[in-house]
Amino acid sequence: MQHVPTLLTLQVHDKSQPCNKHFQQNCEGNARLQNGSFLIAGVPAGGYRVEPKTLPVGLSEARAVKGKVVLTCESIGSGVALCLYDPDSQVGGLAHVLLDKPSGQVDPGTESRYAATVVEKLLADMENLGAQREKVTANIVGGAEVHTQDPDLFMGSRVLQTMRDSLKQADIPLLTDTSGGHLTRSVWLHPEHGRIELRTFVDHGVLDWEVAA
């Protein structure tokens, strides 16, 4: 499916205000800020298309880039997309993981498969491109679940929790956490603008890093 996102302005939804039906239906596709409010898509300004140089990041992959390149993870289910960004160097990193930790030892070269090891791997890749670790902040997207009451089958929650723990351990601030629900998501990271685009089948939102920070 070809995605042609439209540039949308941002609104911050005040959680004290009642949601209308449309918003309730769609809010799980939007970024949930740490204070409990949502960043939601507003009126399309129109005309914007993703730059031609878009690099896909597949499952169990991690990629760092600088400047005018867009990174994208399409089809995030229970997996988690980790978006890291250093605004000073305009270096961004994106990883898509579905496994929390390895069952045994981590084989060299497989660090990007696991939430427990991907943060350090992506940070190292970003530092190679000039990012400064202390300037890097994070947003995470994904962790949806198939309908179940059985905690053993909560695959998304497990990956999310391990990812949050790994970020904490690496001392990387987590700005937004757009996670849970039952919808497949896609994400585009624009390091040049410090922007994330999020899409579910019902919804499309844009998150600016400085707004989230």
Partner: protein, 288 residues
């Protein structure tokens, strides 16, 4: 398709009035029956396939995909049947015969071209992975997984006409098959099973199609296999449509297969590796 879309549409009416219904080549159906029969032989399987040269050519291309990694090229159908085995060749015939409609865009489910195909191959590969762990027939599990969602090909056009109602009913906490039943009176599992029966596919393949979202009703390990594989594939993001991950998973399926749920990580790891390799190597050969 002048019929009024309503819940009263029977399965027969729904199928009869669906334009451009998927079909399977006669040779593929013959091979399915031959491999399902105790009297089936490698010679007769090869003979049926050779009656459809276009299909035979596609099967030979698939036989030489990187996934099977034989040191030498397979150039004849009888050789493919001997080297790969009847069950594997049957799966290749099902893949080659269904690929033309499996890659269709299904607007009613918001699935782009090839998205049903990649989900189906992922579930087929996942069923094989699960079957290996449960010590079941892997090749049989593959074919059961491959066709589990064929009902979507017929349902899509009807759902497309109901898009407004679909939006209204689409609370993410509701299971999608429940919404299908509310809007059209049937879900894609029932429609798929009806279609498979109309093709005269064996019960071993029809049952997983009908019960893949309700495996507890099937009392069939093959259906449990497909159900668990579907869960793995949806979790891995292999379902990009409206429905996403909005289906129930039955923990009982794991128990019935003797799988340890606490070992889910390693099962998923094994699934991801094979799904990626298998999907790419088959796609290269089919798109060529």
């Amino acid at each position: 398709m002048n019929l009024q879309i309503s819940q009263c549409l029977t399965l027969e009416q729904l199928i009869e009035n669906t334009p451009d219904l998927p079909t399977l080549p006669v040779a593929v159906m013959a091979v399915v029956h031959e491999t399902d029969s105790p009297e089936g032989s490698a010679q007769s399987v090869a003979r049926y396939l050779q009656q459809d040269p276009a299909l035979a050519a596609r099967i030979l291309r698939l036989s030489n995909s990187a996934y099977y990694s034989f040191s030498r090229q397979i150039t004849e159908i009888p050789e493919a049947v001997v080297v790969l085995g009847m069950r594997v060749v049957r799966n290749l015939a099902l893949i080659a015969g269904s690929y033309p409609w499996m890659v269709r865009e299904l607007k009613g489910y918001e699935l782009g071209p090839k998205e049903l195909w990649s989900h189906s191959i992922a579930v087929a590969t996942g069923s094989q992975t699960v079957a290996r762990r449960a010590r079941m027939n892997e090749a049989e599990a593959f074919s059961a997984g491959l066709f589990h969602n064929i009902g979507k090909v017929a349902m899509s056009i009807w759902l497309e006409k109901k898009v407004d109602a679909l939006m209204d009913a689409s609370e993410p906490s509701r299971s999608f098959d429940d919404i299908e039943r509310e809007l059209l009176g049937h879900d894609h599992a029932a429609v798929g099973a009806f279609l498979a029966e109309s093709w005269n596919l064996p019960k071993t393949l029809v049952r997983p199609i009908r019960f893949h979202h309700n495996p507890e009703e099937a009392e069939d390990k093959l259906t449990d296999c497909v159900h668990v594989a579907d869960y793995l594939a949806m979790s891995a993001g292999y379902n990009r449509g409206w429905d996403g991950l909005r289906y129930k998973v039955d923990p009982g399926a794991f128990l019935r297969l003797g799988l340890d749920k606490s070992d889910l990580g390693s099962l998923m790891e094994e699934f991801l590796q094979s799904a990626e390799t298998r999907g790419k190597s088959l796609e290269e050969k089919l798109a060529a």
